[in-house]
C-alpha cells in the first residue's frame, strides 16, 4: 500500500468509525413515545402526573402521552381505539376484562429487564405472597401485567347505627352468614307502615359484576365455584349454588332485609341508611371519613359449614402493554410501568391504592395502618375473579338467573338448569383457541 493510499484508507476508516459511532448514539437516543391510558380515579391523577414528571427527568428519551379515560367510557374507548389501530401502548386494564384482551392476543408478557428486574421470578419475589399474589396477572405461567391496584373487600360498620341498636361492632360483628341475618335484623329499622327506613346489611344487587365478586365467593366458601377459568366450564346447578341463591332469595323475599329495589349499598351506607357494607375495599375509607362516619373494619363472614376460608373475590387494575405497539415502544412502556409501580407507599397514602410490594407491606408504616392489615389478610385468602373472555356476558347471564328467581319468582330448578346451559354456551364460544 502506497503512502497516499494508506492515508486515504485511514481517513476512510476514521470517517466510517465516526459515522458508526454517531449512528449508534443516534439509535440509542432515538426518542420513543409511549401512549399511557389510565382509568379515572381522581385521587390518583395528581400523583401520576408528579411521577411522570420524575420519569421524564430520569428517562429523557421516553416521552409519555398521558390520558385519563372516564370509567363509563373505558371499555368503549379502548376497544374502538384498538380496532382502529390508535389504541394506547400502556394501559390500565382491570381484571374483569383482561381475559378478553389476553384471549384476543392484545397483550404481551412483561419485559422484566425493561421493567427494572433481573427476570420474571424477581418480579414475583418483589411482591408479598410472590407468584400467588400475582396470579391475577399471570396466564399460562407468564406474567402479563404489573399491578397498579390490588383490591380485596372487607366489611365496614357504621358505629353510630350499631350503638343505636345496642350493639358493639367490635364484639358483635357476625363471623358467619347465619349470624349476619340475626345481626342485620337487629340493625333494621322500619317505619309505621312497614317500609324499610334503615337496613342492617345488604348485598350489591344493582351491579351484575357482584354475581362474581360476592355471590361466587360465597359458593366458593362451600367448596364449589361457579366458573372454572382454566377449563371454561360453569357449575351453576349445584347444591352449593342453590344454598347461596336460597340465602339471597330469603334475604330479599322471606326475611325482607333488603333487595334489589333499594338504594345501592355504598350510597346508602354513606347516607347513614345502612349499618354494614361488605362490598368495598381499602380505597373507600376516605369516603366514609368524608361522610363523617365512624367505622370499624371486619373480614367478610363465612358460612358456618364453610370448607374454604375465603372472603369476597379480589380483583385488580394493572399496567398491560399492547401487542400493537412497536418492540422499542413495548420496552419503553415496561420501563415506565416498572417505574410507576415503585412508589407503593405514596399510592396508598394519596389514592388508597394497594400495590402489595413485599418491602412495603412488611414496613412498620403499613403494619401500623389501622385499616390495611385486614385487607391484606383477606387478599391473601381470597380468590381472584375468573379472568375469562366473555366475562361481562357471563355475569349478565348469572344476574339474569338471579333476578328470575329472586325478582321474578321463577322456579329455581328450571332457572338454574337454563342458566347452566346458557353460561356453558357463552364460555364455549369464548374459550381461547376454539
Amino acid at each position: 500500500m502506497s503512502k497516499g493510499n494508506a492515508k486515504f484508507f485511514f481517513l476512510l476508516m476514521a470517517l466510517a468509525a465516526m459515522f458508526l459511532v454517531s449512528f449508534g448514539v443516534a439509535a440509542q437516543s432515538e426518542p420513543v413515545t409511549v401512549k399511557l391510558w389510565m382509568h379515572e380515579h381522581p385521587p390518583r391523577v395528581p400523583l401520576d402526573n408528579e411521577k411522570l414528571a420524575l420519569f421524564a427527568e430520569e428517562y429523557p428519551n421516553i416521552n409519555v402521552e398521558y390520558t385519563v379515560v372516564p370509567n363509563t367510557e373505558w371499555a368503549t374507548t379502548l376497544s374502538t381505539a384498538m380496532a382502529s389501530g390508535a389504541g394506547p401502548d400502556l394501559f390500565n386494564v382491570d381484571s374483569f376484562s383482561i381475559g378478553d384482551y389476553f384471549a384476543q392476543g392484545n397483550l404481551v408478557p412483561v419485559d422484566a429487564v425493561a421493567a427494572g428486574f433481573a427476570d420474571q421470578q424477581a418480579i414475583y419475589d418483589s411482591y408479598a405472597g410472590g407468584e400467588a399474589m400475582l396470579g391475577g396477572a399471570t396466564f399460562n405461567g407468564e406474567l402479563y401485567a404489573l399491578p397498579t391496584e390490588w383490591s380485596a373487600y372487607a366489611c365496614y360498620t357504621n358505629n353510630a347505627l350499631w350503638e343505636a341498636a345496642g350493639l358493639d361492632p367490635n364484639t358483635d360483628f357476625p363471623a358467619t352468614w347465619e349470624d349476619m341475618k340475626t345481626v342485620a335484623e337487629q340493625l333494621t329499622v322500619r317505619d309505621s307502615s312497614g317500609a324499610l327506613v334503615q337496613r342492617g346489611y345488604d348485598f350489591r344487587w344493582g351491579f351484575n359484576l357482584f354475581t362474581i365478586l360476592s355471590f361466587n365467593p360465597m359458593v366458593q366458601q362451600l367448596g364449589s365455584t361457579v366458573i372454572d377459568e382454566v377449563n371454561y366450564t360453569a357449575n351453576i346447578d349445584t347444591p352449593e349454588y342453590r344454598q347461596v341463591m336460597q340465602y339471597w332469595y330469603d334475604w330479599a323475599n322471606t326475611w325482607k332485609l333488603g333487595g334489589p329495589q333499594y338504594a345501592e349499598d355504598r350510597g346508602a351506607f354513606l347516607a347513614g341508611d345502612l349499618a354494614i357494607t361488605c362490598d368495598v375495599g381499602s380505597w373507600w375509607a376516605p369516603q366514609a371519613e368524608d361522610a363523617g362516619i365512624e367505622y370499624t373494619i371486619h373480614p367478610v363472614p363465612r358460612w358456618a359449614n364453610a370448607v374454604s376460608d375465603n372472603g369476597f373475590a379480589s380483583y385488580g387494575y394493572m399496567y398491560t402493554v399492547s401487542s400493537q405497539a412497536a418492540p422499542e415502544v413495548q420496552a419503553a412502556a415496561w420501563t415506565l410501568a416498572g417505574f410507576m409501580t415503585s412508589f407503593p407507599d405514596e399510592y396508598l397514602a394519596a389514592a388508597g391504592l394497594l400495590q402489595p410490594k413485599k418491602d412495603f407491606v412488611e414496613s412498620e408504616a403499613f403494619l401500623e395502618n389501622p385499616v390495611m392489615p385486614v385487607f391484606l389478610e383477606e387478599l391473601s385468602k381470597d380468590t381472584f375473579n375468573p379472568r375469562i373472555a366473555g366475562f361481562t356476558e357471563v355475569m349478565d347471564a348469572l344476574a339474569r338467573a338471579r333476578d328470575r328467581i329472586i325478582s321474578g319468582g321463577e322456579d329455581m330448578d328450571t332457572v338454574l338448569a337454563e342458566a347452566q346451559s346458557e353460561v356453558s354456551d357463552i364460555l364455549a364460544r369464548n374459550k381461547p383457541g376454539d
Binding site: A75, T76, S79, T80, M82, A83, D100, Y101, Q104, G105, N106, D191, S193, G194, A195, L196, W205, G206, F207, N208, G259, P260, Q261, Y262, A263, G390, T392, E393, D396, A399, R400, D403, R404, S407, G408, E422
Partner: protein, 302 residues
C-alpha cells in the same frame, strides 16, 4: 322569435354544474357520515368482529344465529311492547292536550309552559329525578298508597311492573313535546274553515272530527313517524333508569340497548351490526307503511 340568451343549453348546463357544486358539500358530508357508516354496518353484520381482532367474513351466519338467540328474540318483543306503549297513548293524550291548549281560557300560557317543562331537561336528568321518585317507599308510592294500601312498590325491580314504569316515565316527557307539534298543526288550520263549520251548524266535536283532525293528517304523519322511530331506537332511559341496564330479567332490554351490549360489552360487534341491520329494516318497513297508508291529498288546505 326572440330567444333569451339565458335559456341556451350551455347556460342550463352551467347552472346545473353550479347547482352540483353547491350540493357537493352536503353530498360529501352525507356520504362520509351516513352512507359510509351504513355500508360499513352492513359489511360488519356479515363478519365475526370483536373489535380487538380484524373482522372475518362469515356471510349470513350472524343473521342465522340471531334466529336462535333468546336475548335477541326477547329484545324484539320488548322493543315492540315499548313502541306500542310509548306511541299510541302518546299520540292520543298529546293530541287531547293540544286541543285543550288551543282553546282560550285564563292562565293558558302559564299552564302550557308548565306542561312543556318536562321536555327541557335531558333524559339522563329526567331519569335521575325519577329514580328518586320511584324509590320503593318514595313519593310516588306514598301518592298511590290510598289506592294500593302498599308500604313499598318495586316500580323498577318487578319484572312485570318495570316496563310499564319505564313507558310512563318516557310518556311523561314525550307527551308535552308532541303536544307542541299538534298545537302547531292546529294553529296552521285557517280560522275560516272553523267559522264555516260553525255557520253550517257544527258543534265543537263535529268541528274537531270533521274539520280539524282531517286537516291534521300531515302533522299526524310526522308525529307517528318520529315517535315510532324514536321508540324503536330506545336506549337512554333503559340504560339509565333500569337495574343492570335493561333489567330486571332483560324486560327492558330493547334492541338499541342490546346493540350496545353486544358491541361494546360483549365484544360481539358482528352480531351487534346484524341486530342494527334488522332494526334498520324494521324501522324502514314501519315508516314506509305509515307514509303509504297516510298518503293522499283528500284532505288538504290546498
Amino acid at each position: 322569435m326572440i330567444t333569451r340568451k339565458t335559456s341556451t343549453p350551455s347556460f342550463i348546463a352551467r347552472r346545473q354544474r353550479w347547482g352540483f357544486y353547491f350540493v357537493l358539500p352536503t353530498v360529501i358530508f352525507f356520504a362520509i357520515f351516513f352512507l359510509y357508516p351504513i355500508l360499513s354496518g352492513l359489511y360488519y353484520s356479515m363478519t365475526e368482529f370483536t373489535l380487538l381482532k380484524p373482522p372475518v367474513f362469515v356471510g349470513f351466519g350472524n343473521f342465522e344465529a340471531l334466529l336462535k338467540d333468546r336475548l335477541f328474540l326477547k329484545s324484539i318483543s320488548v322493543t315492540l311492547g315499548y313502541v306500542a306503549g310509548s306511541t299510541f297513548p302518546v299520540w292520543v293524550i298529546s293530541l287531547f292536550a293540544a286541543v285543550v291548549f288551543s282553546q282560550k281560557f285564563p292562565g293558558r300560557e302559564i299552564l302550557k309552559a308548565l306542561f312543556f317543562a318536562p321536555v327541557l331537561p335531558s333524559l339522563v336528568v329526567v331519569a335521575a329525578v325519577w329514580l328518586v321518585l320511584l324509590n320503593p317507599s318514595g313519593l310516588i308510592t306514598t301518592v298511590v298508597r290510598p289506592f294500593t294500601g302498599l308500604a313499598e312498590i318495586n316500580w323498577l325491580n318487578d319484572p312485570k311492573l318495570s316496563p310499564i314504569t319505564v313507558i310512563l316515565v318516557h310518556n311523561w316527557t314525550a307527551i308535552p313535546f308532541y303536544m307542541l307539534i299538534w298545537l302547531a298543526g292546529l294553529t296552521g288550520i285557517p280560522e275560516d274553515l272553523r267559522d264555516a263549520a260553525r255557520v253550517d251548524g257544527a258543534n265543537f266535536l263535529q268541528t274537531l272530527f270533521r274539520v280539524e283532525l282531517p286537516l291534521l293528517r300531515p302533522t299526524a304523519v310526522f308525529v307517528a313517524s318520529i315517535s315510532m322511530i324514536n321508540a324503536f331506537q330506545a336506549f337512554t332511559l333503559q340504560y339509565t333508569i333500569t337495574p343492570g341496564k335493561g333489567g330486571p330479567v332483560d324486560v327492558n332490554t330493547t334492541m338499541g340497548l342490546l346493540i350496545w351490549k353486544y358491541g361494546f360489552q360483549y365484544f360481539r360487534m358482528g352480531d351487534a351490526a346484524a341486530i342494527s341491520v334488522v332494526l334498520f329494516a324494521m324501522i324502514l318497513v314501519v315508516t314506509a307503511f305509515q307514509l303509504t297508508f297516510t298518503r293522499g291529498d283528500k284532505y288538504s288546505i290546498q
